[in-house]
Amino acid sequence: MARKPPRIELHTAPHAVAAQNVVVIMRNVVYALLPLLGYAVWLFGLSAFMLILVVLLSTLGTERFFNWMGKQGSTLDDWSAVITALLLALTLPPGFPLWMGVIAGITSIALGKALFGGLGFNLLNPALVGRAFVQAAFPVAITTWTPPFIVTRFTEFIPSTFTLPLMQPIDISQWLATSGIDAFTGATPLALQKFQSIATPVESLFMGSTAGSVGETSAILILLCGSYLAVRKMMNWRIPLYIFFGVVATSALLQLIDDTNPDPLFMLLSGGVMLGAVFMATDMVGSPITPRGIMIYGVLIGFLTVIIRIYGGLSEGVMYAILLGNAATPLIEMVTQPRIFGARKAPAKGGTDD
């Protein structure tokens, strides 16, 4: 093996702060996700742990496979595939059959990233592509929830976790009944609100002691982890703020029109808004960089989330809202090109779609 050439980094002034490269940022995002993962395992037990592990392995395996196919070196050490895997696992229900988790992991990398040319070229957030695929393929399994704090969660798995590959998830209603869970309807706070008009207390939403995806339930923990990244300037905190604004403004307006619609605070804290806004919409590849673009992008996602939740057939809309926001990003950047300093008119639009 030839000796590595010495690393020479060239930067323009100022030189006071070391440049943050992609790997450092990605590694810190993983650090920020660790508390969420720990809390998820605390809430949902062994099944959540197993799911995270399996999704991680399948995602990394797929990434490596495409490295091999493309005859390039391993890209596992840039941590981006790890983030994809962890985010994907956090958006799945705790009792999700492991074989479906494998499918989700493979699709997220293959369809969401490798086909576009790898990190930096993907139009959409890979984790959400994987989730959207399994949502469309297995609509029942992905909306089968289990409650947190099941007593036996550290000694036994949720039965549906070990469903045989290609088979329907094992029915868990019997198991839930024998596990001492009374009157659990299998619905998330959003579904309760949408289909039965049952409100969930705000404290439960903050702490995450509700049914839901592995890592979306605790609003406060997500905000804390997000702040770490924001403080270290590794995440654009404006994006989540604009999304929150979009959600609150849209739901407040809709509640004004028809007061049976849920209130803004509930909309903000329930479902995947927090996780999506803080960790997924802020994906550096899929979000715009111009200041006005960020505003449009964030508010658009917030707006779409509420519209899909209230008028759509599903109870949750964050995933599709972010995917649509990702898809609109090139267009948003095109129309919000800042004026070149000193130029009289904005430069000709189009042509700079890098």
Binding site: P97, L111, F133, A136, A137, F138, A141, L166, Q168, P169
Partner: protein, 205 residues
């Protein structure tokens, strides 16, 4: 450029070298829309094959007789006639099949593969050669539809031609029967064939 000699290439061109779906990407509308089960794909493939054969033969027969200026209109009339015939015949054979294929039978008229064959091939060669070529193209189209239809049916319903493959607990991949599934599976097959083609080229060079 086109001589009148019939070679094996006349037939195999449509099946492999210039497969209408996997190489030329023609007729995508029925390819994506009616391949959610093998039987639909087969019916669609055969209907298209019939229209392609008859229109190619007829166009080739009258190729020296029709004026250049009206040829496209005449091709369309000929194709539309055969499509209408197929439409009635399928309705007479099975209403269920007819309902499953829906508007896509009528839309065979708009399948650019058929008009393309009439304009680019059948109008320039004698009837027998045109017929052989149309047969190859039609078979290639049907095979492509079957490729898509079988994969989508196996994953989406767990059956093949209606026979249960995995038992009653099979988890159906709903997305495969829906329109996105058509795109996914088509993309997968294109990837596979392109990969095979490239490997062959590498071996030859």
């Amino acid at each position: 450029m086109l001589d009148d000699k019939i070679t094996s290439e006349t037939f195999w061109e449509g099946v492999w070298e210039n497969n209408p779906v996997f190489v030329m990407l023609l007729g995508m509308c029925p390819v994506l829309a009616v391949t959610n089960s093998t039987i639909n794909a087969l019916a669609m493939g055969l209907a298209t094959l019939f229209v392609l054969l008859s229109s190619s033969l007829l166009v080739s027969l009258i190729r020296n007789w029709i004026p250049k200026q009206t040829r496209i209109a005449i091709y369309i009339i000929i194709i539309a006639t055969f499509v209408t015939v197929v439409d009635y015949v399928i309705q007479a054979i099975s209403l269920d099949l007819y309902n499953a294929l829906g508007a896509f039978i009528q839309l065979i008229v708009a399948n650019c593969m058929i008009l393309g064959r009439a304009e680019a091939y059948a109008s320039k060669v004698p009837p027998v050669k045109s017929l052989v070529n149309a047969l190859g193209m039609g078979v290639g189209f049907t095979i492509a539809l079957l490729c898509l239809g079988s994969v989508r049916e196996i994953l989406g319903s767990g059956t093949l031609l209606g026979f249960d493959l995995f038992g009653e607990h099979y988890q159906q991949w709903v997305v495969m029967i829906l329109p996105p599934g058509g795109f996914f599976v088509l993309g997968g097959w294109l990837l596979l064939f392109e990969w095979l083609r490239q490997r062959k080229e590498q071996e030859e060079s």
